[in-house]
Each structure stands twice: as C-alpha cells, then as structure tokens.
C-alpha cells in the first residue's frame, strides 16, 4: 500500500512538484488512467502559500496539497463506480465512466478534484499510476521525483517512517494516505529592547500563559533581543516579558493569525 509523506518544514516553495505534475499531465493523454490536464487552472498538487507574522518577524510556509487517496473516500461514494481504489491504495477517477459527473468536484472535502469544462470531466491526481505500472523511463510520481529537498516522499507504507506524522483535517474522517510533518501551528515572536539604553535586551524571559494560567511556551531572547514561541495552538494568551526588575505583560491572541510583535520596549 502506497503513501505520501510531506514535510512542510522542509518545503522551500519551489513549486517543482506542481510544475512537474503539469509537465507529466498537460498535453499528455494517459488514458485509461487520466485524460490530459488542461494547460492552466487545475492543480493536482497545489503548493499553497501562507505568509505569517508581521515585519520583521515574518515567515512563509508552503503547504503542498494533493488528493489524499483516502481509504474512506467520499468521492468513491459519490462516484457510483466511476471512482475506484486500487490495490496499492491509490484512488483514481475513471475518465470514461466519470464523464459529466460534475458533482464529484464537491464531493471532495480537500478540494482536490477539478472540473475540465472542455472534456466534461472531473479530474485529479492519479498518483502517477501510469508511471508506477508502465514501462516508462521513470516509475515514481513526478511530484516526488522533482522534490529536490526531500519534502515529498512516496513509497510502501510498511517501509516509510510515519512516526510523528499527522494527517490533514482528521475531522473529515476520510482516512488519508497522505501523511504530513510540520503542519503549521501558530507562533508569537518579537524583539525586546530597552528604550533608554537604546539596546536590545539579551536573555529576557518570555512566558506565554493560557487563560487558565498554564504555561504554553517559554523562551529567552537571543543576542538580537529576539524570541520565538512556536508550535502554539489557536488561542488567547498573556505574554509576560521579564528582564532584571522590569516586567511587561501583553495580551496576545493566535486565534486569527500568527503574531509578529515587532519591537517591544521594556521600560
């Protein structure tokens, strides 16, 4: 049984996976696996981008999403025989049987199915099954082959290290065969300085407490006066900054977004 393992912490956002998928499927007819993907507009794998924080505490997270090849796939139910699961776990849409089945697009909670207006076809990632099965010069998915930093892995479930991985939207209950590392969690970051001395404060203690008082994260500022509190849930917090006799308490909320506080004076 095949699985994908995607490490978001490693992804550099080069879009080599997304572009490689198009190189394989746009203009190439791999029937009976799939009809050609249109030139533009479909993303069988899509590198989503999230800009997080505020200047100068900004990070960009790239988040590749493809069909999750669910074991409990809503699209298979909606497909009435036009969508099938292979023995290796990959889920494919049969282009002959699925003609006209626009409702399949909405059946997928991951928005992984696209509508091909010209062909009147729902289309999506095939796991590059034609390459896995056929005698082509390459026998692995193109997105995996093109990921130069190893952010996308593909292989036999039994041979992959799945420890510490998560699935995306477990609440959908679809049992994905795509596993993730580093699914984005919130951060709070800032630079602490002493406005009178015009110096950054090194070694200031930054403690983040939940509303119930529990310590959610703790860090000390580095030689630039910076602190980064990572892997936080979406919640309301109080941030206590202490250096020597000085203390400052701020309310921060990660409910809507990551927090880049910028320069924080500690007077």
């Amino acid at each position: 049984m095949k699985v994908f393992v995607i490490n978001i912490d490693k992804c550099v956002g080069c879009h080599g996976c997304q572009v490689g998928c198009k190189d394989e499927h746009c203009g190439n007819d791999w029937s009976p696996y799939a009809k050609p993907q249109p030139e533009i507009g479909q993303f069988w794998i899509k590198v989503n981008q999230q800009e997080r924080g505020a200047k100068p505490h900004v990070k960009v997270t790239y988040f590749p999403v493809l069909c999750q090849h669910c074991d409990n796939a809503p699209c298979i139910k909606a497909g009435r025989g036009a969508v099938y699961k292979r023995e290796d776990g990959l889920v494919l849409i049969d282009p002959d049987k699925a003609k006209g089945m626009k409702q399949l697009v909405d059946s997928c909670p991951y928005h992984a199915i696209y509508w091909n207006e010209q062909e009147q076809l729902p289309q999506k990632c095939t796991g590059c099954a034609h390459l896995l099965d056929g005698d082509h010069p390459i026998s692995v998915p193109r997105c995996f082959d093109n990921c130069q930093v190893g952010a996308i892995l593909f292989g036999e479930e039994s041979e992959m290290d799945l420890q510490g991985t998560e699935i995306f939207h477990p609440e959908y209950g679809t049992k994905p065969r795509v596993y993730y590392r580093g699914l984005p969690k919130r951060f709070v970051a800032g630079t602490i300085y002493d406005p009178a001395a015009k110096e950054v404060i090194i070694g200031a203690r930054c403690t983040l407490n939940s509303v119930d008082g529990k310590v959610a994260a703790i860090a000390e500022t580095n030689n630039y006066g910076d602190f980064w509190l990572r892997n936080l849930p979406e919640d309301d917090f109080t941030l206590t900054v202490t250096a020597g006799k000085k203390t400052k308490i701020l309310n921060v909320s990660t409910k809507e977004m990551d927090i880049g506080l910028g320069d924080v004076p500690l007077a």
Binding site: V12, N28, Q49, V58, D135, Q148
Partner: protein, 833 residues
Amino acid sequence: MSKKSEEKSFIKGLGWCGFGVGSNSASVDVKDGKVIRIRPFHFDDEYAPEDMKPWKIKARGKVFEPTMKSLLPPFSIAYKKRTYSPNRIPYPLKRVDWDPNGERNPQNRGKSKFVRISWDEATDLVASELERVQKKYGPLSVLAQADGHGDTKCIHGPHGCQTKLLNIMGGYTLQARNPDSWEGWYWGAKHVWGQDPVGQGNQNNLWQDVAKNTGMLLYWGCDQETNTWGWSGQQASRLSYWFTELGIRSIYICPDLNYAAAVHADKWIPVNPNTDAALQFAIAYTWIKEDIYDKEYLATHAHGFDEFKKYVVGEVDGIAKTPEWAAPLCGVPSRTIKALAREWAEVATTIVHCNGGSFIRSTYSSEPGRLEICLLGMQGLGKPGRNQLKMIEWGLFGMDSQVPHPRAEVIPNASGAYNGMFSDMPQQFIPKTLIPEAILSDTQISWHGTTLNSSPREDQFIEYKYPIDDGGTEIHMIWTDTPCWTTCWNGGNKMIEALRSPKIEFVLAQHPWLENDCLFADILLPINTKLEEEDFSVDQFSGQFHQVFYEGQCMEPLFESKSDYEAVCEVAKKLGLYEEYTKGKSVEEMIQSGYQVCGIADKISYEEFRKKQYYVVPTAEGWEDDPAGFEPFCQDPESSPLQTPTGKLEYFSTELAEYFPDDEERKPVPQWIPYGESHSESLLHPRSEKYPFLIVSNHPRWRVHANMDDFTWLREIETCKVRGADGYMYEPVWINPIDADKLGIVNGDIVKVLNDRGMVLGGAYVTERIIPGTVYQDHGARLDLIVPGECDRGGANNLIAPGQIMSKNCAGEVTSGYLVDVEKADINELKAN
C-alpha cells in the same frame, strides 16, 4: 498492465547562463517526435559510484554529500514551454513599412506590424544591407549586440555567432557588456582586495570551511531560493538546510523578505534599498568604538586603515558614522546594528551572496561593494570560517579559485565546440550601458574602462571613446541576437528612442520569441530552442558532479526555425563566405573537438563517451586539504599577497588616489554617497518629494531576466503574476500594508509605478514581506507597450531606471534602488488612452 512505452531519453543541459557554461543536466523523454517529459538526470545510469568518487563533507558529526540525481529547478522541468511557446517566431519576418529601397520609417519601429517572408528573401535582404552599409559608412558602422544569457547552447551558441562573420567582413562595433552581475565588486571591491576578474572573493573549499568553523552566516542581499534557479538548480537549498542543521545562525539583510529568507532565516534585518553603506559604516564604527576588531590582522594585512578609521569616526567630515547616524538612513534600529556588530565580532562570520543583490547594481555601488571587504578585513578575512561565500557561479570562468565545493579532477569546458561570443576585442566598442547615449549623441562620447568583465583592474583607468579617433565611424545598422536591452538594461525608454533614430537604417534581430526589442526590428530571423538542436555540453555549475555530455536532437525544428549558428550560416552563404565562416566543419566534427579540449579526453575514449553519452568527472583526491578561501593570504600576506598594488587590503586605494584624485563619487576611501553629481536617487534628495518610494528590482523569481515570462505554468503561481480586474496578468508590485493603506490600494489593484522617465503598470501585492517606503517589482517582464517610450503595461521597470552610468568614472548600470511614485491606476482612464 505493463507495456513498453517506446519513450527515448536524451540528455540536455537546461541552465540559462549561456556562454557555454552549462548546468541543470536533465533527461528529456521523447516519443514520436513529441517531448513527453523533462526530469532529473541520474548520474549513476552508466557509472558506478566508485567511478565518480562522490565527495563527503563531514563536520560537527554530520555529513553532506551529492545526490545521484540532478537537482533541477522548476524552470528546467517546464522547459518544453519554451519550445512550444505561442510566442515563437515561426518564419522570417519583415516590418511592413521598412523599405530598403525607399522609406525606412524608423519612427514606426515598435508600432508597425510584420509580414512573413522566405529565408531566401530574408537572407538576400540581410546580405545586401550589410554590404551596402559597410560600403557606405565602413565596417565599424555595424553594431553587434552579441552578448546575453539565455539557453546554454554551444555549437549553436546563442550569442555572438554574427561577430565571426562580421570579422571576416572587415570588422564591426561591439556592444561591450558591462560587468552587470558584479558592478559593485568590479568597480569597488577590486580596489580593496584585487580579485580579478570580477571582484568577488576566493571560494576555494568554503563549504567545508563554513561547515566546520562558521558561527554566523550573513546572507547579505542573497536569495539562494531564486538566483540559483537560472544557474545551478537546487543544491543551494540543500546546503542552506545543512548549515542550519549544523547550528549555524542565518541572518538575512535585505529590503524584502526574499524567498530564501522566507524559509531559511533565523533573523530578517530589513534595510532600505541601497543604503547598505550606512549600515556598514555603523558596524565599523561600533567595532572601533568598542575596540572589538582585529588590529593585529590589520597591522600586517591592511594598507591605509587609519584613513578609513578617520572617516568612520568623523575626523574627515565631522560626521561620526554611529549606529544612531545610520539608523534613519538605512532603516535598521541602532540597537540592532550594535547587536549585529557585536555578534559578528564574537563568532566567526562569513558573508553569503549569489551575486550581491541589487545594491551592487545601484547608484554608487562601488561603495557598499568595497565597504564589505573593509568589514571582512576588520574581522580577519581568511581566518577559519571568515570569508565571502557564493551560492552561484561555482567554478566561474573554469577557475578553481571559484569552486567552494569539493574540487573535481577537472572543470570541464565546452570551448572546443562553442561558436558564441566574439573572439578578439574589436577596435571600436560601446559599453552596453551607453548604447542609447552613443546613438543619440551627435558628438563623440568617452568613458573609462572597456567595461568587459574579463578586464583587469588597471583597465578601469584607461579612457576610451566612441567613435574612435582613428578610423572610427558612427553605427548605422544593428545586428542583435540579444533583443532585450529595453527590459534588462538601464533606462529602456531612452533605448526605445535610440532604436527609432533615423541614424539606424537597419535593425536585424534573430530570436526564438517575438518579444521586447524584437518589436523594434526591421527583419526578424526565427531561431529554435535546445530541444530542436544537436549539441555538446558540460555541466559545471550544479555543485554535485561536473559532467560532459552529448545532446541529441529531441525533435525536428518547429516551423522554419534554425539555430543561431545556422542562421548566420545562411547569411554567410549569400555573401559567399560560408566555407570561410564554417571552416568546413560539420556538427559532428565540432562535437569531436568539443570532446577533445574539454578536459576528459585522457579519461574516456570518444567512442565510449558517445556510447554512454556522458562522462562524470570524479572528485579530486585530497580536496579536503585545499586551503579555504583567503586562508593563504591570512596566514602569510607576504608570500600570498592580494593582487592590489600593495598586495594588502587597501582601505585607502593607492590607484584611485593616483588616477582619479578629483572624483567625488569614488574617492580613495569608501564614502557614504546618497546622491551626487551623477544621481539624485535617494530619499534624502528633494526629488523624493515627488517620487517618495525606492524601488527594489531583483532578478525575477519566476524568470531568468527576459526569459520565460510566457510560461503558463508559472504565471498562475501566486507570486508570479497578479490578475487585475481586467483579467490581465500584471507583474506584482509588493507594497507594505501601511503604504497601501495610505495610497488607498488593496491587494490585486492595478498600480502605476512612475517617475520622470516614464511609467510601468503592475499588480498590487500587499504584504509584510516588504518594508514601508519601498516597493518591489522583479525585473525583466515582457514589454507590453501602451505608448512606446512612455508607458508599459507589462511591468518592464527597466524602462524607467536611470539612464546614467553608476558614477562618473564607473560605466556600470543602475537598475535598482531608484526613486518612483506609486499610484492606484484607473483602468478605464488607461483604456481611453
């Protein structure tokens, strides 16, 4: 359901440096003359690891080694978009209202349409025009624009094939390409540490040195998640991760949170565009004030440090270059400057670049260029972990001193099969930065230095003229194979004016795609792409293995296209110079001579090479013990001196003092020069009241300069283009939310970027990734002129870059860090125009 796919695989080098300097080895799978896919190449297809001797760098208990698969960037994977582009020039074309026997209508260049003509008619016209112009005005009246990056072809050399024909015909005028990539190093740094030819640091064995010894990496104007793509693929991404894994801190100094900073930075220090000199001075000041710099080293390795110190502390102009002085200029808080300076003094620090970023291509770039070397010297340049590391151009010019990774037995070169580039420097030439001025001026012009990047430092002191005094003549015909001056150089709108000058009787362009300067041609010759050609190539930039390979022809040329070399051959035939031009050599013979001189002939026979189609050069024995960067100079400056007149780091340049004693814009000691006689592009200058933003114009993330702007698969990426309300895909303009609010601009709006030189449009991309007061728009967008010479929809901002050279005696370009205003555009109003 296994079945034979009948796909055949070819090797192609899909890098964009050109000049025969290859990279990005790829496998191209072809079926029935159609290109199916392009994918990473496997070095171990025909060779065992023992044959290749893969290197291993070991440091801090961890190992870094090459992959067996080439690390292709997305551009190479998408290369077939180049071949199958709808913008291909299919046939020879002639401008409808250009009549060589009657009205030439130069004023209509860029306006009027083209008609199809045959190769026969086209080459007849070209041959007769060449003969006529050369007879009437002399051979030097033909300007060859014969430089430029782009497809890396060798036998079919994309740039320069025409110069060899023109040489046979008696000569020509060369467009001498300025050291565009390295301006600040070339015109500045060279006067501190020598380092001919381009002025960047020695790279020897620096990966190992950094891995073992460095505590902090300063990525100073460096985006190795962008600028590596055109040149060398994604080894730099792996390397950056490895350095982080080793616990080395990564600090990014740049106005924009560039693509590398976005994923690799431990800290982003935003700086105002082209104000790095202020920041650099404040660091030097902090070190001097707190006495945390390497005085023993300077005593033996520096010349004139005291002069420099006097300027820093304010003894020369009464201004102490304190962090508080610098903060409002460069936008970095004084406390951060001090923290940076102290950290740098405490831990071994290496500065990292691709080529330096736009501040080495702005006004007075010589200053930050040489200040960087001054700073490196103050902390003991060449001591373990203290050097200047490059993320691209590994092995530049085939020089071992430019190789930071473990050394291979040889750096292969394609010179034996290479037909591009001019061979001898012609008598008459014009710096590329001065072409519009040369054409439009009615008097002789002069400047210093040939400006060619291969020239030694002393060449900067020689004055040159156009037209030359002895037998010089003005140009009256242009033959370009590099038709992107307008979107790649300094002050494109002025170039448009020059291209429409009545002095220019004939503009001939050969190019694969109908774009940019092609619009201003009188005759266009259709050129093909790499997949349609048979060639010989090397991979020397990728940082894994060097290799040499045969490139088979994947498909028949589309339409009536020919290679650049073949196109010139067609013209040569009409002139009766074909035999002389080709020297009777076939493509097969050129492949053979490529093999013979590339450096592997003693390692593998030609037959075996052709059978296997490639050869991987093994890693050299003993590379681990190669000295690192400036280590030899550091250890013994007397026996390993620098190439400067004193052999030392010249904080006071002895030669600038001698040759340009009165140059206020490049004094013997580096200065802070926000504006001056040549330029007013600073927020401190009154012109900024009208144009209150500085523009950063980087090398494009989703293009290589003018190349690939039409790749549909890239254009739909969020940061590649912004879809305007009118459906048009605009070149993004990054604006900080604070500025956007003030200007009433929201994400996706169409905006004008303008100054007194014209206006270009863009699509607003409102983001925390850019600082207030600065906007950022990549360079090289495909021209889409609304009013030629005034207004462009494509976002080709070079059109409105300053036309003047970098400073009085430095004929470099200024293409970033200049003043603009930004306004929300009213699309209906624009349509009405």
